[in-house]
C-alpha cells in the first residue's frame, strides 16, 4: 500500500556460478516481493562493501543486507548503521562483532557444517570401500584466506581426525577455479610418491577441473579416485550423472525469498530468530540423475 520498502544489498562479487545464482535469486525475489532493491557489487573487496553499506546509510534505506567477504572488521560500519536505526541482515556468511546486537539476524549456510558433511560422507565411504589400510586424500583448497576455504577445511578435518587412517597427503590452493583446479591436480598426479585414493575439493568448479586432469592421466574419476566436493552447482550434477563425481554437499544460494520475507518482518518489527539456517542436502551420484532437472543453477 504505502511506499515500497527499500533494501540495500551488498554482494561479494561475481567470482563464481554459485555467486551468480545467489545474486539472481535475490533480485528475482525482490521483484516478486515488490521490494526496491539497491544492489552493490563489491568485487571481492571488503572495503568496497563497507563503502556500499555507508552509502546505503547515506541513502536512508529501510534494511541493509550483505554477504560479508570476511568475518571480521565490521564493527565500525555496523555501529553507524545502528546509529542510523537501520536493521542489518547477514546472508550466507557470519561476522565476528564485539556486540551481537549490531545485526538482527544471519540467514544462510554454514561453511564449517558443509565441511563436516563432506567429512562424514567420506568416513562412511571409507568404511564401505576401503575397510583397511591408509586412505590418502588430496585437498583442493579455495582462495587462500577466504572464509569458505578456511571453514570448509576446518569442518572437514574436524571429522576425519576421528579416523587416523584418513590422511590428507597433499593440499594446495586452486583458487576456486576450474583452470587452477586442473593445473594443481595434474601436479598432484605426477608426484608419484603416494597413491591418491580421494580428492576433496572446496568447490565444484575445482572438482570439475580436477576430473579432467584425472581422465587425462588415464584414470577413472570416482572409481580410481573418489571425489568429494561442495556447492552442488549444475555442473556437479552433470558430472555425477556421468559417474565422474561421487558426491557434492549442497550450499544453497537461493536465499532470495527467505531474505525478502525476513526484511519485511524486521521492518514490521516482528521478532526474528538470530540464526536461520537454510535446508541443505548432500547429493550422491545415484540421486544425481533424478535431481538434475530441478536444479535451477
Amino acid at each position: 500500500a504505502d511506499k515500497p520498502l527499500v533494501l540495500g544489498f551488498s554482494q561479494v562479487g561475481a567470482e563464481s556460478e554459485w555467486r551468480t545464482a545467489n545474486s539472481n535469486s535475490i533480485k528475482d525475489a525482490a521483484k516478486q516481493a515488490g521490494i526496491t532493491l539497491k544492489f552493490a557489487d563489491a568485487q571481492q573487496k571488503q572495503e568496497n562493501q563497507v563503502k556500499a553499506i555507508r552509502s546505503f546509510i547515506a541513502q536512508k534505506v529501510d534494511v541493509i543486507a550483505f554477504s560479508p567477504v570476511v568475518e571480521s572488521g565490521w564493527d565500525t560500519v555496523l555501529r553507524e548503521a545502528k546509529n542510523a536505526k537501520i536493521p542489518v541482515i547477514l546472508t550466507d556468511r557470519a561476522v565476528k562483532v564485539s556486540d551481537p546486537s549490531l545485526y538482527v539476524t544471519f540467514i544462510g549456510s554454514d561453511f564449517v557444517e558443509e565441511g563436516r558433511k563432506a567429512g562424514r560422507w567420506l568416513v562412511d565411504w571409507a568404511k564401505k570401500n576401503a575397510p583397511t589400510g591408509e586412505v590418502n586424500i588430496v585437498e583442493l583448497q579455495g582462495t587462500v584466506g577466504s572464509a569458505p576455504a578456511l571453514d570448509r577445511k576446518r569442518g572437514f578435518e574436524e571429522i576425519i581426525q576421528a579416523e587416523p587412517r584418513l590422511k590428507i597427503v597433499r593440499s594446495q590452493s586452486g583458487d576456486f577455479t576450474r583452470a587452477k583446479g586442473k593445473e594443481v591436480m595434474e601436479a598432484f598426479l605426477k608426484a608419484k610418491d603416494k597413491k591418491i585414493h580421494v580428492l576433496f575439493a572446496h568447490n565444484d568448479d575445482m572438482a570439475i577441473g580436477a576430473i579432467q586432469a584425472i581422465e587425462e592421466a588415464g584414470l577413472k574419476p570416482a572409481k580410481d579416485i573418489a571425489i568429494v566436493s561442495i556447492d552442488g552447482v549444475r555442473g556437479a550434477f552433470q558430472a555425477m550423472a556421468a559417474g565422474k563425481l561421487n558426491v557434492t554437499v549442497e550450499c544453497n544460494p537461493m536465499l532470495g525469498p527467505q531474505l525478502m520475507q525476513l526484511a519485511k518482518d524486521v521492518v514490521a518489527g516482528k521478532p526474528v530468530a538470530k540464526r536461520i539456517t537454510t535446508e541443505e542436502g548432500v547429493f550422491t551420484a545415484d540421486v544425481a540423475a533424478k535431481e538434475l532437472p530441478n536444479r535451477k543453477y
Binding site: 561475481a14 567470482e15 545474486s23 577455479t177 593445473e183 598432484f188 579432467q212 587425462e216 588415464g218
Partner: protein
C-alpha cells in the same frame, strides 16, 4: 613541444649493447638470452634434485606425458600473452587488458560453439572480438594519446564485465570434442598448443627480421621524436602492436577455454597481464621501451610456469607459495643484473680499487 618527450640517454653505457667482439666466447657472454636461459636451467636443475619423477616422460595413448609436458602445455597461453606484450613494451607501452581480452575471446568462442556453429566460425568470432579490443586500445593510445596504462586499464575493467554480460556470469561448458584439440590435443606426440605457440613465434620473428618492422619498432621505442622526424609512422606502428597483443591474448583465451573445456568469464586469464609483463622483463627486455627479445619473453614465460609447477609438485603449503615465488623472482633478477659482476669484483678482496 615534442622536445619534452624523454629520451633514452647515451649513458649509462651498461644499458647499451657493446660492439661485436672478435672472440666468439665474448659474444656469447654478451648474448641477451644467456641470462634468462641460465635462470631457467637453474630452476630445472633444482627440480631434478628435489623431484624424483620430474624428468619422467612416458607415452600415454600416443603422446608424451609427464611434468615437462605439463609445463609446456600450461605455459603456452602465457607465452602467447608474453609474445604480444613484448612488442607493446618495446614501443614504451604496456597492456593491462590482456586478461580481460582472454575472458572475452573464451566466452565468445564457447557461445558460438554451443550455438552449434562450425569450429572455424567460433575461432574467427573469438579472434575477431579480441582484435576489436586491440583496435580499441590502439585508438586510445596511438590515436588519442592516452597513457597506455590508463587506456588499457579501461578495457581491463570493462572487458571482464562484457564477458560476464555475454555469459550471464555462468561458466559455459563446452561438449564438442573438436573444440578441445587446441588446448588439450596432441600432434606428433606433443601438445597442439605448443605447436601453435612455436608457429606464431617463428612467424612473428620472421616478420620482424625479414621486414623492417623490427627496426622500426625498436626505433619508435627508443626515440619517438627522432623516429617521427626520420619519417616513421609512429602512431600506426604503436597501434599495430596493441592489435597484435590483443590477437595473441585472444588465441591464449581460446587455448585456455579449450583446455578446461569451458569458458569461465569470471576467472579466465585473471592477472595474466602481470605474469606476461613479468615474463617479458625476465626475458631481458626493458620496460623503458626499445629492445625486445621474443625468445627471451618465451623463456621468461617458461621460467614462471616451471616455478609454479615446482611449487605445486613440492607440496609447498599454499600459504607459503607467494613467499617462495617472491624470493625466486628476486634471486633471478639479481642474477640477471649487469651490475652483479662488477659488484662481486668490488667485494672480492683485491678487487679493482677505484
Amino acid at each position: 613541444m615534442n622536445r619534452k618527450t624523454p629520451v633514452t640517454d647515451a649513458l649509462p653505457l651498461s644499458a647499451l649493447p657493446t660492439p661485436k667482439r672478435r672472440r666468439v666466447l665474448a659474444v656469447m657472454a654478451e648474448h641477451p638470452l644467456l641470462r634468462p636461459i641460465a635462470a631457467l636451467a637453474i630452476l630445472l636443475l633444482i627440480d631434478v634434485i628435489l623431484l624424483p619423477g620430474f624428468w619422467h616422460l612416458e607415452v600415454k595413448d600416443g603422446h608424451l606425458y609427464g611434468p615437462l609436458i605439463d609445463i609446456l602445455n600450461r605455459a603456452a597461453p602465457l607465452m602467447l600473452a608474453a609474445l604480444g606484450m613484448s612488442l607493446v613494451i618495446a614501443t614504451r607501452g604496456i597492456d593491462v587488458s590482456i586478461g580481460a581480452v582472454v575472458a572475452i575471446a573464451a566466452t565468445v568462442a564457447a557461445m558460438l560453439v554451443n550455438g552449434d556453429r562450425p569450429l572455424m566460425v567460433a575461432y574467427a568470432g573469438a579472434l575477431g572480438a579480441a582484435l576489436l579490443c586491440g583496435v580499441w586500445n590502439g585508438v586510445l593510445v596511438a590515436g588519442l594519446k592516452l597513457q597506455p596504462i590508463i587506456a588499457t586499464l579501461i578495457l581491463m575493467v570493462a572487458g571482464r564485465g562484457l564477458a560476464q554480460l555475454l555469459s550471464d556470469g555462468q561458466i559455459l561448458t563446452v561438449y564438442r570434442d573438436d573444440f578441445f584439440v587446441l588446448g588439450g590435443g596432441y600432434l606428433l606426440g606433443l601438445p597442439v598448443s605448443l605447436w601453435v605457440v612455436a608457429a606464431l613465434s617463428l612467424a612473428t620473428t620472421a616478420l620482424l627480421r625479414k621486414t623492417a618492422l623490427g627496426l622500426f619498432i625498436q626505433a619508435v621505442g627508443l626515440n619517438p621524436v627522432a623516429s617521427r622526424l626520420a619519417g616513421l609512422r609512429t602512431a600506426t606502428l604503436i597501434f599495430g602492436t596493441y592489435v597484435f597483443a590483443a590477437g595473441c591474448a585472444g588465441l591464449a583465451g581460446l587455448m585456455i577455454a579449450s583446455n578446461i573445456k569451458s569458458a569461465d568469464a569470471n576467472n579466465a586469464g585473471l592477472l595474466l597481464e602481470l605474469d606476461a609483463i613479468l615474463a617479458v622483463t625476465l626475458g631481458g627486455a626493458s620496460l623503458a621501451g626499445g629492445r625486445y627479445h621474443l625468445a627471451g619473453a618465451l623463456i621468461g614465460a617458461l621460467i614462471i610456469q616451471t616455478l609454479t609447477t615446482t611449487i605445486y609438485s613440492l607440496g609447498v603449503p599454499p600459504e607459503v607459495n607467494m613467499v617462495v615465488k617472491a624470493v625466486v623472482v628476486f634471486l633471478l633478477c639479481i642474477l640477471q643484473s649487469s651490475e652483479l659482476r662488477p659488484m662481486l669484483r668490488r667485494l672480492a678482496p683485491r678487487g679493482g680499487a677505484r
